[in-house]
């Protein structure tokens, strides 16, 4: 199979003498760093940790659901396990996944800046994340919490005696961590671009992070105040959401989903940015319809604020209101469709190679398309009545979040691994991992669509026996999926020491980040770059390489 990898001669190649990794040593130089790349690495280690905790919870869930009865976990334990899975995966993995790691690493480099606008706030964001993580671990250690990640009132405020307050505060703190990340990105993208880096020369990765950041900055505070009210209601007993005091529990749903629906786009948009970069690089071709893809990110961000009540169609909101929200939900599906088709069209007349990031990106295309289209099922009013709160919705958002975002994250990690570490991951085993992940994913979550239409409710520790066969398939798939996720952990760690030396631009990609050494300098660029070419300009890259060869010659 043909490949575009161009590594330096391994017998003579060395890693650069000075890079962000070895400029300073010692724990302190990491924990007090202002360098966005080091913070990105800190984030990457932390979210991997929490991903595997959340993953362990998922494993317990799937094990419990092997049989129709509650034989592995008691019902209350099961509730705590799926709550922990949801809270950790949403707030401690998915929301920060691409933005706080790959985004943090790359956004300043892609816009041609030395760092994010506010390095200290960036570090603060990581510390807030860690604080939230520690609080979440305390919640788990001291008895867990069983609200579900949605904190539905009045269950969370009056009917549970688990650690709801601590969990709520953990999410509150994690929210501020994400606000600061988003704020930093927006300021950096507006104010720190290198000379010549116009808006329409920005890589699509930056555009999608810009859109996601807007959602983080404007949406998260509403979740924060909602959780404050929940905590006050639980501790003091004020009555904003409590029907017995005249409050309205549906108001909680409104405020919660005002954040938590855009949060879905916070999670997926950065992943879409990764896919744009990867597909362009491995087809050696400018992304088809750059402007449309860029604007569709912004459109998703804007429309994302108008659709939240589609989580409440059966809750007794006004029928007129339901109509409006359903219509807007249909509209928000269009930009995603545009993106999918534009990525597919990017392949046309390209020169395609199939390295691991590309395989993950293909996986993303397929799974996200299914996830998006099943979202249309749920946005359609009448269909939603039957499908919501069943395994159909579980399958839908796992296709989008895991099939979409996690595939994109893994694609991105593999794609930029040589840039982050200076070394290549092993190509053969990583391709295997990509295929295993894809197969395992389909096996795990596709049966859940069928279960959902059958009516199996989500968050059930025990279920009627006729659902068992499909659940067994799902659990079997989950074990395959688990292997798919453990493999990268192993071989990427291995590659830190034994991977081939990558050189500055192993993929022959056009982004600014590929024009500097791997791993980069602490200040990213030896001198402020002056940008004279469009994003994804492969002719410019070819000319540049030719000139360099001539100069050296």
């Amino acid at each position: 199979m043909s490949t575009i990898v161009s590594l330096p001669d391994q017998s003579t190649a060395t890693l650069p003498k000075v890079s962000y990794l070895n400029k300073e040593y010692g724990l302190k130089s990491w924990l007090l760093t202002g360098d966005h790349k080091r913070i990105a690495v800190l984030y990457m280690i932390s979210i991997t940790f929490f991903f595997f905790i959340g993953g362990a919870m998922a494993a317990l869930i799937r094990l419990e659901l092997l049989t129709p009865t509650t034989d592995l976990l008691a019902a209350d334990t099961y509730n705590k396990v799926f709550t922990a899975h949801g809270l950790i995966m949403v707030f401690l993995f998915l929301v920060p996944s691409v933005p706080a790691t790959i985004g943090n690493f790359l956004i300043p480099i892609m816009v041609g800046a030395k760092d994010l606008a506010f390095p200290k706030i960036n570090l603060l964001s990581w510390y807030l994340y860690i604080a939230a993580g520690i609080m979440m671990i305390c919640v788990l250690v001291f008895g867990g919490v069983d609200t579900g990640w949605t904190f539905t009132t009045p269950l969370s405020t009056h009917y549970l005696n688990t650690n709801v307050v601590t969990a709520g505060l953990a999410v509150f703190v994690a929210g501020f961590s994400s606000i600061f990340t988003g704020l930093n990105f927006i300021v950096t993208i507006h104010r720190m671009r290198a000379p010549g880096m116009t808006w329409f020369r920005l890589p699509l990765f930056v555009w999608s992070h810009y859109a996601a950041s807007i959602l983080m900055v404007l949406g998260t505070p509403v979740l924060a105040i909602t959780l404050v009210l929940v905590v006050l209601e639980r501790t003091i007993g004020i009555g904003v959401f409590d029907p017995s005091k005249g409050g309205d529990p549906l108001l909680f749903q409104h405020l919660f989903w005002f954040y938590s629906h855009p949060a879905v786009y916070i999670m997926i948009l950065p992943g879409m940015g990764v896919i744009s970069e990867v597909i362009s690089t491995f087809s050696r071709k400018r992304v088809f319809g750059y402007t449309a893809v860029a604007f569709s990110s912004v459109a998703i961000a804007v429309f994302g604020f108008f659709v939240w009540a589609h989580h409440m169609f059966i809750m007794g909101i006004s029928n007129y209101s339901a109509l409006v929200f359903s219509l807007l939900t249909m509209l928000v599906a269009v930009p995603s469709a545009i993106k999918i088709f534009n990525w597919s069209a990017t392949l046309y007349k390209g020169s395609i190679t199939f390295e691991t990031p590309m395989l993950y990106a293909f996986g993303f295309l397929g799974l996200f398309t299914i996830g998006g289209l099943t979202g249309v099922f749920l946005g359609s009013l009448g269909m939603d009545i039957h499908l919501t709160e069943t395994y159909f919705i579980v399958a839908h958002f796992h296709f989008v979040m895991v099939g979409g975002m996690l595939m994109a994250y893994l694609s991105g990690v593999h794609f930029w691994w040589p840039k982050i570490t200076g070394r290549m991951y092993p190509e053969g085993v990583s391709k295997l991992a990509a295929v295993i992940t894809f197969v395992g994913f389909i096996l795990t979550f596709f049966p859940q669509f069928i279960l959902g239409y059958l009516g199996m409710p989500r968050r059930y520790a025990a279920y009627p026996p006729e659902f068992q066969v499909l659940n067994v398939f799902s659990s079997a798939g989950a074990s395959v999926l688990g292997v798919g996720y453990l493999l990268p952990l192993l071989y990427l760690t291995w590659s830190l020491k034994y991977g081939k030396i990558a050189g500055a631009n192993p993929w022959q990609a056009t982004g600014l980040e590929w024009q500097i050494q791997s791993p980069p300098l602490t200040e990213n660029f030896a001198e402020t770059p002056i940008v004279t070419h469009e994003a994804y300009d492969y002719e410019w890259l070819a000319n540049k390489t030719r000139n360099e060869v001539q100069t050296v010659g």
Binding site: H190, L218, V222, L250, H254, F305, S318, S321, T532
Partner: protein, 121 residues
């Protein structure tokens, strides 16, 4: 190269290629204390007005007047104390964006609450 030459002067004009929508270097405009004093005094006058008006029975317009005065006061603070009148388009856009999203939250939530009692289907 023309472009490169331009960039040698980027001390004062850091991003010359950015569109006109985003002037990065606005003139530092120092507002005079006189302006602050006038704005502060009118804010106090508006406070007195809104308190006084609340004792007059205007029916439903009491709330409208109270909110209108609050909006005027807010505009004064935003435009003068917070210098938005003298700021870049980006700042104005940011402020507008904040209020827009706030209105989305309120109006879209209200679409539900207002229309719940409308005719049954």
């Amino acid at each position: 190269m023309e472009q490169q030459q331009e960039h040698h002067h980027h001390l004062h004009v850091p991003h010359p290629d950015m569109g006109p929508s985003e002037p990065t270097h606005h003139e530092e405009h120092i507002v005079t204390p006189k302006v602050y004093l006038i704005v502060g005094a009118s804010l106090l006058v508006f406070t007195a007005t809104t308190t006084a008006v609340s004792y007059v029975d205007l029916g439903e317009f009491n709330a409208v007047v109270a909110l209108a005065i609050a909006c005027i006061k807010m505009s004064l603070v935003v435009l003068f104390f917070m210098h938005v009148k003298y700021s870049s388009k980006l700042t104005r856009l940011t402020v507008a964006c904040g209020f827009f999203t706030f209105l989305v939250l309120i109006t879209m939530t209200m679409t539900d609450y207002i229309s719940r009692a409308w005719g049954r289907w």
